[in-house]
């Protein structure tokens, strides 16, 4: 699965994208965020305030409870500030 990071989540995580194999028990966006916190200091810092981080599953806005089975691309980012 491809993971993408934007804005300050990208800066804190120290990378903009990666390919990962997820543990079998990670089935929702919220579980994926919890798992991210366990991946070392940078990820712990990037996902420390997980409640303010938004996610997109296959390029569509997702909720914490959104299922990620079968997704090919999941992105994490701060609330958007376009326009």
């Amino acid at each position: 699965m491809r993971l993408l990071y934007f804005a300050w989540v990208r800066e804190k995580a120290g990378l903009s994208s990666e390919e990962v194999e997820l543990p079998a028990d990670v089935t929702t966006v919220a579980e994926l965020m919890a798992w991210q916190k366990t991946r070392g200091q940078e990820f712990a810092s990037a996902f420390e305030r997980a409640e303010v981080i938004r996610a997109a599953v296959d390029q569509a806005h997702a909720k914490p409870e959104t299922e990620i089975a079968g997704a090919s691309e999941i992105a994490f980012f701060p609330p958007v500030t376009g326009g």
């Binding site: 958007v80 376009g82 326009g83």
Partner: protein, 164 residues
């Protein structure tokens, strides 16, 4: 029509292209968002817009399609820039055309509110105090919520001796 680009856009030329050869329109509304310099310690030197290529185009197209569902629009355009911009530069252009002026106004306002809350762009400001990611504003979410459709009330089962 939607476009995501680093180059500047020409408001007049975009409006002309949209209306070219048409005499059925009546009302054209444009919104242009520009980089504000700000002042004092918050004064900007530049602003960098990062976005999510692929998702950005999908979101803009989705938002535009929703506007066409809600209002009788004859044409519309969203152009959003990314990259590094200076104070006074253009950021975003929305144009709506309709035979009804209120439809054109409301659709343009709707597009901007949705774009602010849904399009995957992030702004980083650079000024005297170093780079700073712009925080999203609750007022933008509230602005988007203005357009929420009233939720259909689930029909209550009739109670005996209910008063209508």
């Amino acid at each position: 029509m939607i476009r995501v680009q680093s180059e500047d856009f020409d408001i007049g030329a975009e409006i002309e292209a949209l209306r070219k050869g048409r005499s059925d329109i009546g009302a054209i509304v444009s919104f242009t968002g520009t980089v504000r310099e700000g002042d004092g310690p918050d004064a900007l030197e530049s602003m960098t817009l990062e976005h999510y290529p692929g998702m950005t185009e999908k979101e803009l197209a989705r938002i535009e399609a929703e506007a066409h569902e809600r209002w009788p629009l004859q044409a519309s355009l969203i152009v959003h820039r990314y990259g590094t911009l200076k104070p006074g530069d253009n950021i975003v252009l929305v144009v709506t055309a309709s035979s009804h002026r209120h439809a054109a106004f409301e659709a343009a306002s709707f597009l901007m509110d949705y774009l602010k809350s849904s399009a995957p762009f992030w702004k980083q400001e650079k000024g005297k105090q170093g780079p700073r990611w712009v925080a999203s504003r609750d007022s933008d979410d509230a602005a988007k919520a203005r357009w929420d459709k009233p939720t259909a009330q689930p029909k209550a089962k009739p109670k005996i001796s209910a008063v209508e």
